[in-house]
């Protein structure tokens, strides 16, 4: 799609960035000590911390990734919402108060509080960095995806901007400014997402989502002597190809090539217009046969039939929160799946129209292979993802460090409940926003990540500008938290504790700030390299690493008295290496390397179902083997 910058959106965006930077410089004067830098001095009240939790957690993956995934794969995207929220139950009931009691600045402190073990400090410190960096990648990818429609700038500029602003936020005032940026962003995200959902439901459903929605053409055709002939003689058939079990026809008209899908009707055929992106042998790229600037690459997503009480209608008018879904369930949605065609030296990406029953969209199975055509492996892959989401939240370093910003364990508990309420409300809204984007003709087939902001654009520039600015703030808030967590792991866990470098309190703050700059730089590089990947998928992997490396150690320290330092360190290393190894050798990563996914060494993308139990087993086995050698044990 071609995006044009909106001046109003730019103004809102600049105002937001200036506010955030102003907050950071204001709090910088109050952040002189390491306690102030890493934990905001433990002075944040629980309601503010709860909303800041939401601001921290509702990342680009939640807002951009989940909405985008629901917009393209229906209910399957919402399964991420459910898993992400369910993980907070583990955080509240099992982890919140003990972590607050045991820790000081980082989650490594809590793991190591009873043992004083350099092995734990090293393993947990590295684990925090790895998880934070894996979580950072999708946030930076999301930032790049946002600035293109908002400011009309290329992807890498967005990544550079977010990276630079966040480095300033973290390096000036650490956790204090990060907390208030997250509080502001969390509150605004929930308020304006609610407004957007009211707008979606209030607008209702229509077969023509907007006046400027592209009218996809249908060409009458027949097969004569084995060749396709068109009734409109201005088009000439230049190729017929098959892909994904579907026949496609390439036509030429006035020197422009277009791709069409062959559809059967009775004993005859007709052609339906597709979207195409052609990478030509000479390196040029054409969109629907023309340069991108021609603006012939359209946004998509509409309903081909709407039924209410069994009657076919063209539009519904205002709907309610329940009738929105019940009407979708009875209607037919036109989705645009992608397939690839090799056309001589050209590689053609074709997005074709696929009518899908609304009832099918509102239940699982469009993305995850758990329905027809599924295998034991594909079902295990799904279970593994849901397991990782459930156990991952309570093991994310940037979530865990927020327990140290409140005054007491009871405040940690209360702020978690506020977080669950705020995050739960937002996740309910994601299903409305995702399905709304699916049927309102706003989807960019090249990137699902922009579904929610582009949906807001259909309700006017104001909502688009505010939602885009909030989406950008979403990235800022989460990245800030991640960089605080990663810089804490580098400066506090590794430099101060593991390496034993003696530093004054001011020196510790300085080390944290320098670490933040370095981690921010790495995040910028990775954000540029991973352009185009769905951000929610990438976050799912970060959850798997956290759940495998960190959670078994946290749980066993709290509930198994025979846990030893060597057991904890071995478990963290095993979980991290196993989950990373499975991810790197998975089908999705093979596709990223340009290899055949079917050749992947591990047949599943989500490692949790193997790496989480493995991490537990290693902890138990090593602890039992090192019982007599070590003291003290966990109490």
């Amino acid at each position: 799609m071609i995006y044009s910058a909106s001046p109003f959106a730019i103004v809102v965006f600049i105002m937001f960035v200036l506010t955030v930077l102003g907050l950071s410089f204001y709090f910088a004067r109050q952040t002189g000590s390491s306690k102030g830098y890493y934990t905001a001095g433990g002075t944040i009240s629980w309601p503010v911390n709860g909303i800041a939790f939401a601001g921290d957690y509702l990342s680009a993956a939640s807002f951009l990734g989940i909405c985008g995934m629901i917009a393209t794969a229906g209910y399957d995207g919402f399964l991420y919402s459910i898993g992400y929220l369910a993980g907070w139950v583990v955080a509240l009931f099992v982890v919140a108060e003990p972590m607050k009691r045991l820790g000081k600045y980082t989650f490594t402190d809590a793991l190591d509080s009873k043992f004083k073990s350099r092995g734990i400090q090293l393993a947990a410190g590295i684990s925090s960095i790895v998880v934070s960096v894996f979580y950072l990648i999708p946030q930076m990818v999301g930032a790049g995806a946002l600035v293109t429609p908002l400011l009309g700038l290329p992807h890498y500029v967005g990544v550079l901007m977010v990276g630079s602003i966040v480095i300033v936020i973290v390096a000036t005032a650490g956790m204090k400014s990060t907390t208030y940026v997250q509080f502001l962003k969390g509150g605004l995200l929930i308020i304006f997402s609610t407004i957007l959902v009211f707008s979606i439901v209030g607008k209702g459903l229509s077969k023509k989502p907007s006046d400027d929605y592209h009218n996809f053409q249908r060409l009458e055709a027949e097969i004569k002597n084995g060749a396709v002939e068109l009734s409109d003689s201005s088009y000439a058939v230049s190729a017929v190809k098959s892909s994904a079990g579907i026949d496609f026809v390439k036509t030429e008209k006035n020197g422009t090539a277009r791709w069409w899908q062959v559809k059967k009707e009775g004993s005859g055929i007709f052609l339906l217009e597709c979207l195409s992106k052609t990478k030509k042998g000479d390196g040029t790229v054409l969109y629907n046969g023309e340069p991108k600037e021609a603006g012939k690459f359209f946004s998509v997503g509409h309903l081909s039939s709407i039924k209410v009480d069994g009657r076919e209608i063209d539009k519904t008018g205002r709907l309610g929160p329940f009738s929105f879904f019940s009407t979708i369930k009875e209607s037919t949605i036109v989705r645009f799946p992608q397939t690839v065609i090799e056309d001589g030296r050209d590689r053609v990406y074709v997005w074709y129209q696929k009518e899908t029953d609304g009832s099918r969209v509102l239940r699982p199975g469009l993305k995850f292979k758990i329905d027809k055509g599924s295998s034991v492996t594909s079902k295990l892959n799904f279970v593994s993802l849901m397991l990782s989401l459930f156990f991952g939240t309570a093991a994310l370093p940037h979530v865990l460090i927020r327990y140290y910003t409140v005054p007491s364990p009871a405040d940690a508990r209360k702020s978690t409940i506020v977080a669950i309420g705020a995050i739960g409300l937002f996740y309910v809204l994601t299903l409305y926003m995702g399905i709304g984007a699916m049927v309102n003709g706003v989807l960019d087939v090249e990137s699902s990540n922009m579904a929610a902001p582009l949906l807001a654009k259909t309700f006017g520039v104001f909502l688009f500008a505010v939602i885009s600015a909030i989406a950008f703030a979403t990235v800022l808030g989460t990245v800030s938290g991640l960089i605080v967590a990663a810089s804490g792991a580098v400066a506090h866990d590794l430099m101060t504790n593991f390496m034993g470098i003696k530093m004054s309190d001011a020196g510790k703050v300085k080390a944290g700030k320098i670490s933040a700059v370095v981690v921010g730089g790495i995040a910028i590089l990775l954000g540029i390299l991973f352009k185009g990947m769905n951000v929610s998928f990438l976050v799912g992997l970060a959850f798997a690493i956290a759940a495998s490396a960190n959670l078994p150690a946290i749980i066993m320290i709290l509930f198994w008295k025979k846990t030893t330092a060597k057991g904890v360190a071995s478990s963290v290393v095993t979980g991290m290496v196993a989950s990373l190894g499975i991810i790197l050798l998975s089908p999705s990563m093979y596709a990223k390397y340009g290899l055949n996914p079917a050749d992947a060494i591990f047949p599943i993308d989500n490692p949790g179902i193997i790496s989480i139990p493995l991490s537990f087993i290693v902890l138990i086995a090593v602890s039992l083997m090192t019982q007599k050698k070590e003291a003290p044990k966990a109490s």
Partner: protein, 96 residues
């Protein structure tokens, strides 16, 4: 070594009660979540079944899991706060 709790809190006499209650609620929620994942894995077509207000089982169960988590959290806090007041009132340095 530069680690360990930043603040030494007073003894929390309600800690055992809170841990037990937390584990019970965790297992209750894990069971409900596990059944949800099981249905999705084994029989996803069942999720099309219409439940209430024209909504299917997938939406009712999905929204239900989110609302259930919020309700359990509120219940947990009510019981924990009550127990803390009851058992920690003598500890001036205890949790507030």
């Amino acid at each position: 070594m530069d680690h360990g709790p930043a603040i030494q809190y007073g003894p929390d006499n309600a800690a055992g009660y809170k841990t037990r209650l937390g584990l019970i609620l965790f297992f209750v929620y894990a069971l409900v979540y596990g059944v949800f994942v099981l249905i999705n894995t084994v029989n996803p077509v069942l999720m099309e079944k219409e439940m209430m207000g024209g909504l299917n089982l997938a939406i009712v169960y999905g929204f239900g899991l989110i609302i259930f988590a919020i309700l359990l959290g509120i219940i947990y806090n009510i019981f924990c706060t009550k127990k803390e007041k009851e058992l920690n009132s003598a500890n001036e340095g205890g949790d507030k």
